[in-house]
């Protein structure tokens, strides 16, 4: 496929002996125009959640953490539950449309366009196993795939289904307070032993960090040494 994965415009490519001899089509990718619309999070970032600290007022930054992460870390119950989150891009309008098409319209292959960046970022983290955020069976039927698993698979990882979930309303329809304080919606799959393991989880968006922390907590309680995460977007 020599067209942009997203806008389907033909990719500009130089013809070289390599491209002629290699014959098989190239890996799916985004065109330059689309790539330029992703906002890489650059400069000072929160040490935990990788939110850009650039636009934040001084009183919202404490010891290199954003105020949200500072609050999580102040709470003994949640301290160090999630050691680090890395997000590829700021959740701008463009990425919002792209993720909607991926997740809700079901255009699975879009995740392949992030493969290189995901692999690059994953080298910054230390992990032995990869665990997807589970979907309820209703939601899984509706979407036909789990976006979290799709991300891990695109990185060439073999997802370990350590978590399951009881059905609950869509996250995006909840307010911040509801999300942060809702009860644990994840369960450990019977017989999972994560003693001494470092775990990587993947999700499409980090918004309040509540989903990732609830998942991490279960994993830690099951013996995981540390849990880190990657997301496409930082909301």
């Amino acid at each position: 496929m020599n067209n942009c994965l997203y806008c389907t415009y033909e990719l500009e490519s130089s013809i070289t002996w390599y491209t002629i001899l290699k014959r098989e089509s190239r890996e799916p990718q985004f065109c330059e125009e689309c790539t330029s619309r992703f906002e890489i999070i650059s400069g000072a970032r929160c040490k935990v959640c990788s939110r850009s600290l650039y636009h934040l007022e001084e009183q919202f930054v404490i010891d290199g953490l954003c105020l949200d992460c500072h609050r999580w870390e102040q709470n003994p119950e949640w301290q160090n539950v999630l050691s680090k989150n890395l997000s590829l891009y700021t959740y701008n309008e463009f990425l919002q449309d792209l993720i909607a098409r991926f997740k809700y319209r079901g255009d699975y292959i879009l995740i392949e366009g992030f493969k290189k960046m995901l692999l690059k970022v994953s080298t910054e983290l230390n992990f032995d196993i990869a665990v997807p955020i589970p979907l309820s069976s209703e939601r899984l039927f509706e979407r036909g795939f789990n976006q979290s698993e799709a991300g891990l698979v695109s990185m060439g990882l073999k997802p370990v289904h350590a978590l399951s979930r009881s059905h609950s309303e869509k996250q995006s329809k909840k307010t911040r307070q509801e999300r942060i304080h809702h009860e644990q919606i994840f369960l450990l799959v019977d017989g999972m032993d994560l003693k001494g393991k470092s775990v990587l989880i993947f999700d499409d968006i980090y918004t309040t960090g509540s989903t990732l922390r609830h998942a991490s907590r279960i994993l830690k309680e099951a013996g995981a040494e540390e849990v880190s995460s990657i997301t496409l977007a930082r909301g």
């Binding site: 067209n3 098409r101 319209r105 255009d107 292959i109 036909g144 795939f145 799709a150």
Partner: protein, 491 residues
């Protein structure tokens, strides 16, 4: 890619068969059953995914068992090629696989129509197979006091005739002829006969503009406005006003299908949209095409007597269409690189600024337009630029209309649908491929639309004349000549 669509296109234009094969339709024999009229009304003439029927999930199965609903596979394979049962896509680059958790297999899906929800190997498209819903015959649906001009009237009569006799008709009406009014009596006739009508257009902007006009003149009719993100998808709609994309969801639904701006992007360039329009109409039905700039294909069908046509060569205000001036302005790209506006262009703009004449300047590409914008802003600070994905597009056009900005730089996105009193227009780089004959005719059609200001200047600045530019000028002169001969202009 081209080849696939082309063969497909030929297939459905050469015969009445459609590429959509319903022989696989899974239907049970009809048995007596107290069926849901809501489902009947909603699903008649539609083919929808399970997910799109969420309100009817509980009753769907019993309707299938009793033979009132049926389904066919979302994707089929013909000669080793996948075909999407919804959009007709058969371009192999637009199919890909994913690990499907519904069927636990690797499922192939169509990316062409993915924005309407995924059609994959394990998807089914559901349709109504019971007695078709009969829309009511409306005695007096049209509440319109206006009158038609002489030229509009003859087109209107032919449109009514096309509806009555289930024929096809091309209405070739110049920009500003008043195309919408021509349809009123044809739609009225259809509604009186209990027919279902669809007015489709390639652009959402146009749907949004047409809906309130039709709601005013057909106050008792259920009108459904369908476009991406519309909240009226649940309505059956005896009159459906829709983007051409939404036709993918219909199947043998309409007695009358009217396609407005039939030459506009993406309809003109996308054979699957044309296939969808064919799929959406009943076997016995009428189809009316409306355009100011018919494609050579449509024109040749008219010439060969395969398509009836009616031409309206004059505007409703009975003044000729302004003929564009062709002005050589050297290598405009080089000038812009040197941070200069070519002198002739600069002169054109200064004149408009001094006399407070609102103007549009059309550019061949967003990039060149954005590079040039600061140069134009040196002439006047408030000059702004718009393109297709500009979120403030509507507001900018409104500020031009209200005189808050003196003029706009634009891509071809504003070639249609803009009516601003006293407006004048220029094209920069008129020799570029994007400025086809039809684009240039449409651009010229922006000028002199109001009866109070029926004239104005249109200039194509170029670096070498092209056939498209000359054809556009010929096209406009020919229309003006015909209008004079028929006595449709006052001079």
């Amino acid at each position: 890619m081209e080849v696939n669509y082309l063969s497909l296109f030929k297939r459905f234009f050469s015969s009445q068969d459609t590429i959509f094969d319903y022989s696989s339709l899974n239907r049970n024999p009809l048995s007596s059953f107290d069926f849901s009229t809501n489902l009947q009304q909603f699903l008649s003439g539609r083919a929808l995914l399970f997910e799109e029927l969420s309100e009817f999930h509980e009753i769907l199965e019993e309707h299938i068992v009793h033979g009132y609903a049926g389904w066919f596979q979302g994707l089929s394979v013909k000669n080793g090629q996948y075909i999407c049962g919804r959009c007709g896509n058969c371009d192999k680059h637009l199919f890909t696989e994913f690990p499907c958790s519904r069927c636990s297999h690797s499922c192939v899906y169509c990316r062409k129509c993915i924005m309407m929800g995924r059609v994959s190997s394990c998807s089914k498209l559901f349709t109504w197979t019971g007695p078709t819903f009969q829309f009511s015959r409306q005695l007096n649906p049209l509440a319109w006091e206006g009158t038609l001009s002489e030229a509009q009237n003859s087109a209107s009569q032919q449109a009514v005739e096309a509806v009555e006799q289930n024929k096809e008709l091309l209405v070739w009406a110049v920009c500003g002829a008043g195309k919408t009014e021509i349809l009123f009596h044809a739609v009225e006739k259809a509604l009186q006969n209990g027919k279902r009508v669809c007015l489709a257009t390639p652009r959402t902007d146009v749907v949004l503009e047409l809906v309130p006009r039709f709601r005013t003149v057909f106050p008792q009719t259920e009108i459904a406005a369908l476009y991406g993100g519309s909240d009226e998808r649940h309505l059956a709609g005896q009159l459906v006003i829709s983007t051409t994309h939404q036709l993918f969801r219909f199947q043998e639904a309409f007695d009358v299908l009217i396609i407005d701006e039939v030459d506009a992007f993406p309809y003109s360039a996308d054979y699957s949209l044309q296939a969808a329009s064919q799929k959406s109409r009943k076997k016995i039905s009428s189809r009316i095409f409306l355009t100011a700039t018919p494609s050579s294909l449509l024109k040749s069908q008219v010439k060969r007597g395969k398509l009836n046509s009616v031409i309206i060569p004059a505007r409703f205000h009975r003044k000729p269409i302004p003929v564009p001036q062709l002005v050589w302005s050297g290598s405009w790209e080089k000038s812009f690189r040197k941070k200069k506006i070519p002198p002739k262009m600069q002169h054109w703009i200064s004149f408009r600024l001094q006399n407070s004449i609102p103007f549009l300047i059309f550019f061949p590409a967003i990039k060149t337009m954005e590079q040039a914008l600061p140069l134009f802003q040196k002439l006047h600070n408030d000059i702004a630029a718009v393109h297709a994905e500009d979120p403030d597009r509507k507001e900018k056009v409104v500020s031009l209309r209200e005189g808050k900005v003196p003029g706009l730089l634009t891509t071809t996105i504003l070639e249609r649908g803009v009516t601003i009193p006293r407006l004048e227009a220029a094209v920069i780089g008129a020799e570029e491929l994007i400025f086809t004959e039809s684009a240039l005719v449409q651009i010229a059609g922006r000028v002199g639309r109001k009866a109070d200001f029926p004239t104005g200047d249109v200039t194509f600045f170029h670096y070498g004349k092209t056939e498209s530019m000359l054809s556009a000028v010929r096209h406009i002169k020919m229309m003006n000549k015909q209008a004079r001969e028929k006595g449709l202009v006052d001079e």
